[in-house]
């Protein structure tokens, strides 16, 4: 009975893991296929030669994407945008988070509610308004992205960091005041180093969110394709042999941009899970 239960449990686990990871296996499998191999019917679970049926891996898709200017620019643009967004969100967010989490002031309740409400702000609603401002002021698309990505990164970082600051003992604040330090000095000399773990967590989440963003990136780069980020570049992929959608190259690009994120996630999984579930459970 016990063994049967264990086997069933392992079976269920295996199904869940296959369900979660199989699409990546399929992308990896397809990325090693040539156009002819991709068009084989039925599709093969390992790259095989269309004629002989022998296993045959091919790197042509990877060669083609490392020569693809748009994809490489996309990687650079995405890095610039995601890193700058993360830093800006962390600086502004830790300031605001400290004020809300640790300081007493009039209007604290309303500011808290505004921040909380902003975490659910639908970006699509302000798309038209932002696009109008950006075009009127002729703002650079990458700069526009960094600024507008604050809509979904800043309220979240502020909120998570506020809960974190709140959990730090108030005695730290009081004792440094006795020493004559200003609130600001206390904040960046004593409290900020203590929040390093929370900063890493929120920073990672902000980075992933900006790395993945598509709506604003797509809209703001309509006029300037050189500023396209990775998601937009992949969505617009046209292959060298562009008979139809170049799925081989798209799958290779998918593998290339997914691997770093997966590594990041594996290294920081505990922190990420803590950050994701921050606001959803009491305490």
């Amino acid at each position: 009975m016990k063994i049967a239960q264990k086997v069933l449990f392992c079976f269920i686990l295996a199904i869940i893991i296959i369900y979660l990871l199989f699409p990546f296996y399929w992308a990896l499998n397809s990325s090693f296929k040539t156009e002819a191999q991709l068009q084989m019917m039925p599709a093969t679970f390992i790259p095989r030669d269309p004629l002989s049926g022998n296993i045959s891996f091919n790197l042509i898709n990877y060669k083609s994407i490392v020569q693809n200017q748009e994809f490489l620019y996309g990687l650079i643009n995405s890095s610039i945008v995601a890193i700058s967004t993360t830093l800006l969100a962390l600086v502004a967010g830790s300031f605001a988070g400290f004020a809300i989490g640790k300081l007493r002031f009039r209007g604290k309740q309303p500011s808290m509610y505004i921040i909380l409400a902003m975490t659910m702000f639908p970006q699509i609603t302000v798309l038209t308004g932002l696009f109008a401002i950006i075009n009127a002021l002729k703002l650079e698309p990458r700069f526009s992205m960094i600024l507008t990505y604050m809509i979904f990164t800043l309220p979240f970082t502020t909120w998570v960091l506020a809960t974190f600051f709140k959990s730090l003992p108030t005695s730290i604040l009081e004792s440094s005041q006795v020493d004559g330090a200003t609130f600001f000095q206390t904040f960046y000399r004593i409290l900020l180093p203590l929040t390093a773990p929370a900063l890493v967590t929120t920073g990672l989440l902000a980075f992933i969110a900006s790395w993945n963003e598509y709506l604003f990136a797509l809209t703001f780069t309509t006029i300037n394709p050189a500023a396209r980020t990775v998601p937009v570049a992949i969505a617009f992929f046209t292959g060298y042999i562009a008979r139809q959608e170049p799925f081989g190259e798209i799958m290779a690009a998918a593998v290339v941009v997914t691997v770093p994120i997966v590594v990041l996630v594996l290294i920081f999984q505990r922190r990420i899970i803590r950050g994701l579930t921050a606001g959803s459970v009491k305490g």
Binding site: A43, A92, L103, M120, V126, L127, T222, A235, Q269
Partner: protein, 359 residues
């Protein structure tokens, strides 16, 4: 009075620290929101030379007006019996009704056909001034309700499995993060490839092996398969996230409760209904609202795979702005989405706000 001075200083510092965040949010969210509300009342066009007029609620009227009209049957006199009877299509054998275009109102704005249905032997037509948008609302609601439902059930199942103690639990949790972390556009492309309409695609290959569809199912171009395909992709991408939220909720339930219940002789199912579900309610509510708000504004998935073949509310907004250059009109769509999400947001604050407001 040093104490009072200190309090004033504290307050001043707080305002200074809040200033950058609020300035940024005013620039990127509050101010554009104001302009969107105003622009939605005009016929403004993007990059056009036309003069902008104030048109009141005309955009909203155009977006949301719909009507249901009965279609009268087409009568012919049968040659055998001298009686009027309904004409029947000789090829399909279906009854013939009057063309919708003749019945739907044309003034002041033309109503176009959205769908037809039959009720109590009578044929009706739904006409709308913008059938694409009404269809987009329908698509989005259908997508939201069904995908959130499946994500909750599957997510709860996975959370319960992962919550039990076993070797390799950490690896399992890491695997759960992977679909969540992957760029939505990338996962949409991977699924697009798997759902190809011939046996070059994974699903048609597998289904054909079981003798289903003959390897010819057009998942992404046939209308009945489009929204279900979107739901399947979204469920795959976000179930793990849902499971993680629920897992966090499960982990704060004290083990002693289960032990006590087991001593009282309560079975696993009884324990689940009487302990797990009620104590999981807050986490469940939050996860549900998070996901619902997200699903309502779905954009990436629809835009990448369906383009302008089938819209969600958000992709329709985008196409009106970029494809049609209709700024006023797309602003009105934005406002409608905002109102729908705002209603859910109020619910969210009711559930969550109480937890933090006590001090």
């Amino acid at each position: 009075m040093p104490k009072l001075k200190l309090a004033i200083r504290e307050e001043k510092t707080a305002y200074k620290l809040l200033l950058p965040a609020f300035i940024i949010l005013i620039i990127v969210a509050i101010y554009p929101l104001g302009t969107v509300f105003y622009t939605s009342l005009t016929d403004k066009r993007f990059a056009g030379t036309e003069e902008t007029h104030f048109v009141g609620f005309e955009n909203y009227k155009r977006l949301l007006s719909f009507t249901i009209k009965e279609l009268p049957p087409v009568m012919t006199s049968s040659s055998l019996i001298d009686k009027l009877e309904q004409e029947v299509d000789p090829e399909t054998g279906e009854s013939v009704y009057e063309k919708a275009i003749k019945i739907l109102p044309r003034e002041p704005i033309r109503y176009k056909e959205l769908a037809q249905f039959n009720l109590f032997e009578k044929q009706y037509v739904i006409g709308a001034t913008d059938p694409d948008f009404i269809q987009a609302i329908g698509n989005t609601l259908q997508f939201t309700i069904i995908s959130v439902l499946f994500e909750t059930i599957l997510g709860l199942g996975i959370a319960l499995v992962v919550n039990s103690n076993f070797k390799g639990r950490g690896a399992m949790r890491a695997a759960m993060l992977v679909p969540w972390a992957v760029i939505t556009v990338v996962s949409a492309k991977i699924w697009h490839w798997m759902l190809q309409s011939s046996r070059v695609g994974l699903f048609n290959t597998i289904l054909a092996k079981f003798g289903i569809g003959g390897g010819q199912i057009a998942f992404l171009s046939e209308e009945i398969w489009q929204i279900p395909s979107m739901i399947v992709i979204d469920v795959w991408k976000t179930t793990p996230y849902m499971a993680l939220l629920l897992l966090a909720g499960l982990q704060i339930i004290p083990m002693e409760l289960y032990e006590a219940a087991a001593i009282d002789g309560a079975g696993k199912i009884k324990q689940f209904i009487n302990i797990t579900l009620p104590l999981l309610k807050p986490a469940l509510a939050v996860a549900l609202i998070f996901r619902t708000l997200d699903a309502l504004r779905v954009f990436d998935l629809f835009q990448v795979i369906l383009g302008s073949r089938e819209y969600s509310m958000a992709t329709y907004n985008y196409y009106q702005l970029i494809g049609n250059r209709a700024m006023g009109y797309s602003s009105a769509i934005g406002v409608i989405i905002f109102i729908i999400i705002f209603a859910f947001a109020i619910l969210y604050i009711r559930v969550l706000g109480g937890v933090y407001s006590s001090e």
